[in-house]
């Protein structure tokens, strides 16, 4: 618009911000919405899946749905703003922007807590298997889920209201690293026990062939689980850290110019999550087969 005031900027700021087109965000949001809604539908429809573990997986899917829905809405509103239908500085638009940011923040926090809850549930089901059904009653699961929702809702609202304060960013970063540390701890411990059992089984005659393969697959599963979590969340968290630590440094500026790419990674986590957690379950896949076969046979009957 005003080239005279732009020129000094382009000379000094070599790292221009990398723009990701909104179509990419919309596509990712739509994919994530459809996957997670499928997961929620399957868990609700199948009575076998009304157990604590699947409640937590469904909870994760709900948070992912909310995050992709709010992100899609935000992108659509941004498109309207760019087209000129909305005023980006109007009070109503700012309020809507705040509400959507709180929803996104709440769903990000919620998905971290849900992933942690899934890990703790799996841990208890392996290491306290005999007392599991007494420890994890459905009532306790509902209490835990409501606590997660209340915590994430209030934190999301507070964090967006006070985002400029450094405490909020520090809180987010600390929360992520604590969750990552706990998840690593729990899963590695479970992995070691599984390996120990596999070793005992393999030491008996006749089971030698499957031993190595299942070991590698276990290691791969765990690496994918933790690797995806870290790869999707860490760039954004590192961005927050850099915003606090070195706002003036040119190297840090170049890292911050990739902000939209990091947000793409963050929302793609909602797409990958069902593949890692929900779709690995045979029962869930069978539910889909039944759903689609039933609807297909119904359509065929109507055609004939």
């Amino acid at each position: 618009m005003n080239s005279s005031s732009e020129a000094p900027f382009t000379n000094l700021t070599d790292c221009a911000e990398v723009q990701v087109p909104s179509q990419v965000f919309l596509a990712i949001a739509v994919a994530s919405l459809s996957e997670n809604l499928l997961v929620i539908l399957a868990v609700i429809k199948n009575k076998n899946l009304h157990s604590p573990m699947y409640c937590f997986i469904c909870n994760l899917a709900v948070f992912n749905t909310i995050s992709s829905f709010s992100k899609a809405l935000e992108d659509i509103l941004l498109l309207f703003t760019d087209a000129g239908h909305l005023n980006s500085r109007g009070p109503f638009e700012l309020k809507i922007d705040d509400i959507m940011d709180s929803l996104i923040c709440m769903s990000f926090l919620g998905s971290i807590f849900s992933i942690l809850a899934i890990a703790v549930d799996r841990y208890i089901s392996i290491f306290h298997a005999l007392r599991y059904h007494m420890l994890m009653t459905m009532r306790r699961v509902m209490v835990i889920l409501s606590a997660i929702w209340v915590l994430c809702g209030t934190s999301g609202a507070l964090m967006i209201s006070f985002f400029v304060a450094t405490t909020v960013k520090i809180f987010f970063v600390v929360l992520f690293f604590t969750a990552l540390f706990l998840i690593l701890l729990l899963y590695v411990h479970m992995f070691l026990l599984a390996r120990h059992h596999a070793n005992r089984i393999a030491s008996m005659p006749g089971a030698q062939a499957r031993h190595r393969q299942s070991g590698l697959r276990g290691a791969l599963t765990l690496t994918i689980l933790i690797g995806v979590f870290v790869a999707c969340w860490a760039p954004f968290l590192f961005h927050l850290l850099i915003m606090m630590i070195c706002p003036e440094n040119p190297y840090c500026e170049c890292y911050r110019s990739l902000f939209q790419l990091h947000v793409v990674l963050l929302v793609s986590h909602a797409v990958i999550d069902p593949a890692i957690y929900a779709f690995r379950s045979t029962e869930l896949r069978n539910t889909y087969k039944k759903m689609f076969l039933c609807s297909a046979s119904r359509i065929c009957k109507q055609c004939v």
Binding site: C15, I124, H197, R200, R212, A234, E248, S281, T282, N286
Partner: protein, 173 residues
């Protein structure tokens, strides 16, 4: 138009703001010694190293079952499973953490027959020890999608078992 030129001549209170960055002086890119994106590259390299290192550690544990460490003191008993998590003891020692856990399970299993399918323990062969181990364990989150073929005295022990998803399968996939 004249207002614009007046303002630009007066030093301009027209400011161009980025949404994400604070109002600070523009960052100078003069005299950078390394590549501009060195932090970005360093971050991703560190991340990749972390993930690959974790994968190699896990595969090493599966291949060798962890190198033989010092024989633990027989007098020390591990009461809680939560402690000493990072103590890697993959080998089968009579006093190792997990072996203690296995023994505790088997003792509990022998004592409480109600939870487990009693009829199956006698018929346990060594060839499908794996499946029987999993099935007679009453694993939580164990989805029995098929109805029992033979009605047992134990209603909680269906004969045909399809481990749809157990927490174990997560790791042993």
């Amino acid at each position: 138009m004249t207002e614009y030129s007046n303002q630009s001549r007066a030093g301009g209170d027209y400011e161009w703001h980025y949404e994400y960055y604070d109002e600070e002086e523009p960052v100078s890119f003069e005299g950078l010694r390394a590549n501009r994106y060195s932090i970005v590259i360093g971050f991703w390299v560190g991340l990749a190293v972390f993930v690959i290192f974790m994968f190699f550690v896990l595969t090493l544990l599966t291949k060798t079952g962890a190198p033989r460490l010092e024989i633990p003191d027989p007098s020390e008993k591990h009461d809680g499973l939560g402690e000493c998590v990072l103590e890697v003891r993959g080998h089968v020692e009579s006093h190792s953490l997990f072996h203690f856990y296995i023994h505790e399970e088997e003792r509990a299993r022998a004592g409480r027959g109600a939870v487990i399918g009693r009829g199956r323990r006698s018929g346990r062969g060594q060839t499908d020890e794996d499946e029987h181990f999993l099935s007679s364990f009453n694993i939580p989150n164990y989805v029995n999608s098929e109805p029992p073929i033979i009605s047992d005295s134990q209603s909680a022990a269906p004969k045909s078992l399809e481990p749809a998803h157990s927490a174990y399968d997560v790791i042993q996939y």
